[in-house]
């Protein structure tokens, strides 16, 4: 069983509003999945369903079991950071270590202490004495010291400055990722995690609009900086996105054979951010 998460017809409704509408996807073991969508697209609903934090309809398997069986069972093998700054302000760093050591079998105190030793955080400090960036460091050190099969990060760097954001993802990749654990990261700041990901899931208005391994992007998508005289011809090939900058038109094509595109101009793989805009505008149309 190499699928960590399997969703089949996952639906989440709030009254008439469908936050998730018949969503299907799978997450393979060892992958780093970017769950990317604008605010209100259904990212958090998806993650909360996976974590057993909310009710839903349809089928969902997380590590072989239904998360509806109980959040606390899920949490033995899944960890999550839902936004930064949610550590209780009264908690002392040493108490946080004691607590997690006491309730989580997979926690390595040595690992957490080693990570904290590289920061300016002292065990005697309370969370309220730490800066927002330091709280994130602490939270990350705590969570990354728990060995689990799946790590879920919901907008983990929201509100942090660029230095901490970068350090966060560096640490995630270097100290943590071992190809055994799978990671799901939801964000709407695409650029930052682009290089990290092995798989992309775009979500918009409760629907998955793109589900592709990063390695396959080059096969399916192509961005062409179209020579001005060939614009009409390029339009005829149904680009999914057209962007104009400095008088040049750049178009993104999906599943169009390279032999048709090569004569039109310079080809390259679109950035995730451009692809995101392309797919979402298309979905909105």
């Amino acid at each position: 069983m190499s699928d960590v998460v399997k969703a089949n017809g996952l639906t989440k409704s709030y009254g008439d509003f469908k936050a998730l509408d018949d969503v299907n996807f799978t997450i393979e073991k060892g992958s780093i999945v970017g769950l990317i969508g604008p605010n209100g697209a259904g990212k958090t609903s998806t993650l909360k369903s996976i974590l057993g934090l909310t009710e839903f309809e349809g089928e969902l398997e997380v590590l072989g079991t239904d998360p509806r069986k109980g959040r606390h069972h899920v949490m033995e093998r899944v960890c999550f950071i839902a936004d930064v700054g949610v550590l209780p302000r009264w908690l002392k760093v040493s108490e946080a270590l004691d607590y997690i050591e006491g309730v989580h079998a997979g926690f390595s105190r040595e690992k957490a202490e080693a990570m904290l030793a590289e920061t300016n955080i002292s065990p005697k400090q309370r969370v309220k004495q730490l800066s927002k960036g330091m709280v994130t460091q602490l939270h990350l050190a705590l969570i990354l010291s728990i060995s689990v099969d799946l790590l879920v990060l919901d907008e983990p760097t929201l509100g942090l400055d660029i230095l901490y954001r970068k350090a966060f993802y560096d640490q995630l990749l270097n100290d943590y990722f071992d190809h055994e654990t799978s990671i799901i990261i939801s964000t709407h700041q695409v650029e930052e995690i682009e290089t990290l990901l092995s798989h992309l899931l775009f979500i918009d208005q409760g629907n998955i609009v793109l589900d592709s391994p990063m390695d396959n992007l080059a096969d399916s998508f192509c961005e062409v900086i179209v020579k001005p005289e060939l614009t009409d011809k390029a339009q005829g090939l149904n680009p999914i996105h057209i962007r104009e900058s400095l008088g040049q038109k750049s178009m993104i094509f999906e599943n169009v054979d390279r032999s048709y595109l090569e004569p039109l101009g310079d080809l390259h793989v679109p950035s995730v951010a451009d692809l995101f805009v392309a797919k979402l505008q298309r979905a909105a149309r």
């Binding site: 606390h72 949610v86 209780p88 302000r89 004691d98 607590y99 006491g102 309730v103 989580h104």
Partner: protein
């Protein structure tokens, strides 16, 4: 079990000031008044005009009785009179004294427990730390249970320990004051005080009253786990509405009686002065079982709301 212990410790960490520091402060204040009171008596009677603190510091207790022979002989005579009282009279008198100096602690305890329960499932939703707690493999039932056990056993135990320390101080100070007078210390001050028995009585009293008032405690938990704002308003408001509805449409007073019966004992520590027996007679019956059952039903409700709970 170890997992549950850490949950209880978590509750103490979060509420250290009201669980640990506050009872120590209250007990110290009580002890201060007791000591300065006895000290003032010792130093010569006119204690109204004497600064109590100076008395205490200057109080070389066994020597001070020479200050005022007249008054001193008065204290001595009083003690001797008291020592000749019948056993039961001595017991009742000291019982009253020992319980009275615990009253401030017991009252503080009740208020602390109620405010603790009000915030226990509300505060972390408000400050969003619920997202952290829920990321741990701790079931919602265990979480709620840890709050119940904290309120029923842990906090009362801490406050009881402070009462015990206070009793020991009182025993010690009264013993020191009586030294030098010709009174049998054991049969005058120690045996009638029966503080060990008193402690057992208080411990069972705290536990039984806790169980008796479980419907109220658990109701507070339900509100704490569900309210979107001002939990106190719900806690007080809804029972009031029920009582009002009953008064308007009902002919009996069952709701009102039940509600007041299960809240009032929390604020009547004086009950204890009549001895533990009457309280048990009143409470230890099928009604207690009903209270516990209703308490459990509310606790189940709190667990249910907790499982749905999200940041506010």
């Amino acid at each position: 079990m170890n997992k549950f212990t850490i949950l209880l410790r978590r509750e103490i960490w979060e509420n250290k000031s009201s669980f640990i520091y506050l009872p120590i402060v209250v007990a110290s204040l009580c002890a201060f008044f007791v000591i300065s009171g006895i000290g003032a008596l010792q130093i010569g009677g006119d204690f109204v005009n004497i600064d109590a603190d100076i008395n205490y510091k200057s109080n070389q207790i066994t020597e001070t009785y020479n200050v005022d022979d007249t008054f001193d002989s008065l204290v001595g005579r009083g003690l001797q009179d008291f020592s000749r009282q019948p056993e039961i009279a001595k017991r009742n008198a000291l019982n009253g004294v020992y319980l009275a100096i615990s009253d401030p602690l017991i009252l503080t305890l009740r208020l602390v427990i109620i405010f603790y329960l009000v915030m226990s499932l509300y505060q972390d939703r408000k400050d969003r730390s619920i997202l952290f707690w829920k990321s741990m493999p701790v079931s919602d039932f265990t979480t709620v249970l840890s709050k119940v056990i904290t309120a029923l056993i842990i906090v009362p135990a801490i406050y009881l320990a402070c009462c015990m320390a206070l009793h020991l101080v009182l025993l010690l100070v009264s013993t020191l004051s009586a030294l030098g007078y010709d009174v049998p210390i054991w049969s005058t001050l120690w045996a009638p005080a029966g503080i060990i028995t008193r402690w057992f009585e208080m411990a069972s009293y705290l536990l039984i009253v806790g169980l008796w008032c479980l419907p109220f405690y658990a109701w507070v938990l339900v509100v704490s786990s569900r309210a979107k704002s001002v939990p106190l308003a719900w806690i007080i408001g809804l029972p009031l509405v029920l009582i009002l509805l009953e008064a308007i449409f009902g002919t009996t007073g069952h709701v009102k009686d039940f509600i007041s019966d299960h809240i009032a004992p929390l604020f009547m520590a004086k009950d204890l002065e009549r001895g533990i027996g009457p309280i048990f007679d009143r409470i230890m019956n099928v009604e207690l079982l009903i209270s516990i059952a209703i308490g459990f039903a509310f606790i189940a409700g709190a667990v249910f709301f907790r499982s749905k709970a999200d940041e506010l």
